[in-house]
Symmetry: C2
Subunit: 333 residues, 2 copies
Amino acid sequence: MTAGTNRQILLIEKPTGKLAPEHFKLHDAPMPEPDDGEVLLRVLYISLDAANRAWMHGATYRSAIETNTVMAGGGLAEVVSSRAAGFAPGDLVFGDTGWQTFAAVAAGHLTKLPRLEPLTYLLSVYGIAGLTAYFGLINVGKPKAGETVVVSAAAGSVGSLVGQIAKIKGCRVVGIAGGADKCRWLTSELGFDAAVDYKAGPVFKALKAAAPQGIDVYFDNVGGDILEACLFQMNQFGRIACCGAVSQYDGPPSATGPRGVPGLIVVKRLTMQGFIVMDFDAQRPQALADLQAWVKAGKLKVQEDIIDGLANAPRALVGLLAGDNRGKRMVKV
Amino acid sequence: MTAGTNRQILLIEKPTGKLAPEHFKLHDAPMPEPDDGEVLLRVLYISLDAANRAWMHGATYRSAIETNTVMAGGGLAEVVSSRAAGFAPGDLVFGDTGWQTFAAVAAGHLTKLPRLEPLTYLLSVYGIAGLTAYFGLINVGKPKAGETVVVSAAAGSVGSLVGQIAKIKGCRVVGIAGGADKCRWLTSELGFDAAVDYKAGPVFKALKAAAPQGIDVYFDNVGGDILEACLFQMNQFGRIACCGAVSQYDGPPSATGPRGVPGLIVVKRLTMQGFIVMDFDAQRPQALADLQAWVKAGKLKVQEDIIDGLANAPRALVGLLAGDNRGKRMVKV
């Protein structure tokens, strides 16, 4: 990269099957010029999320990603210059910067962030991952002490926090993750009561052994067969917090949904509720205060998986969709 | 039937496919003798409900029905003699009397009912059907004036009331029912804004035309393809009240669920909630007061479909599962 250019990663083709690095390309563009009301940002870290892949399927809670544009994604960035009131050089912000080194973004689409150490916590435990875990578990799952909470993608950025918060709330916690190493990490390091390795055999039986009292709250990050296995083991008046469906993102849309919908929902009086972290913006200060207190007290361990270099972002996202990461994956630009 | 005998209908075989009259038989048993704490009841009317069929599949919110026992079902009955405090000859009660002319039932399983005219309203609008419509729509669906409410099995006992209550609440109401006659009845007699005949063609397109603003509340009585069609047309923050899944009852369990679960639930932030009328017992007096006021004011039309004679109950239930009825079907014993 020469001075005055903006290194970008473009999505050049929408995958019909699995996402691969070939769907992206590096591109050097001129430095962006902020308009009135915009700020020029230098991107420090880019958040990688399974949702990035879902955005390629079409409009979701955001508009669809188009090809031959900068790949969309949330970034932690520093203000270089500002043409917007309230933003000054050196300010830290979060916003959809996209996968590039510099971005000009409308001030209204940015969230100002405090400087704290380590800075990366602003993208993990104090960022979307932490807030998603917090609101999804507490506001949607509504766990009560003594209840059994199950979380899938449990070694991921959100799942690893969900399980720990559920422990803080006095619940019995079972994590579902892929591989013996991840499962061991959940129980030995993060304090989960049990873990189910979905790669080791049928989930239904292993889950039954790990959650013998049934499931009161299921925090669903994956959808598909694992959601189905949990549905059949939910207790009466159980709650399913629908956070994501990563099993469905990296390929064509599934032709079927889980069995037991709506039959089990009726007879067990279950509630399945979808949510997105932005829905709870008004309660953000309380959530951040709780998360910070738990981190300081050593009750919440933060695992990060930092990939170095913008050029590695495509491969890092592909790996995330395959479950390579442990904790919050991000790219240091 | 000779004096002193109790005419019963037994379930003699659990259907593996569709239910047929051959799965039942008439049987004359001795008159039941109430134990201490029980009352002897003369059954006046038996409620026929799609749920009767679901009970044959196994334990639901009640234990499974066994073969060679009296077919289970709710009944409106009169106390003949009482060995329980608080019950006297002539009292009217509702309880699971089963399909028979007399029953001895524990007082704790009975609900005392006021005498009113017509008596059958105690099984329809003031019975489980009316309360299910009321609580499911108001407490689970939470409709706001101006929103679009869609209800399936709309010409049935529950659906026909759901749509009318939604109109009372100021909503735009679309009913889904089978056949042009039922659909015409919904719009011309019951005040629905539109009706979709699921037998006339694909539901998705017709529903899109009938609910051009999308769906805010879907009251689901049927599950299956119709639930799927509605899921794809729900608005953000929409609510699905899961009341039943009659499309799934009369045959082997479905091998798949609706597409879009959980993907659409997440991106649209939907809530799907199952419920059973008993969950709202504490709010029954208010519900009954509202229902009675609406009936008296002519805002709620009550449609009943009364089949004469206990022996006709099997055929009447089979017909109900095929959608033959309009409004609340019951058997006059």
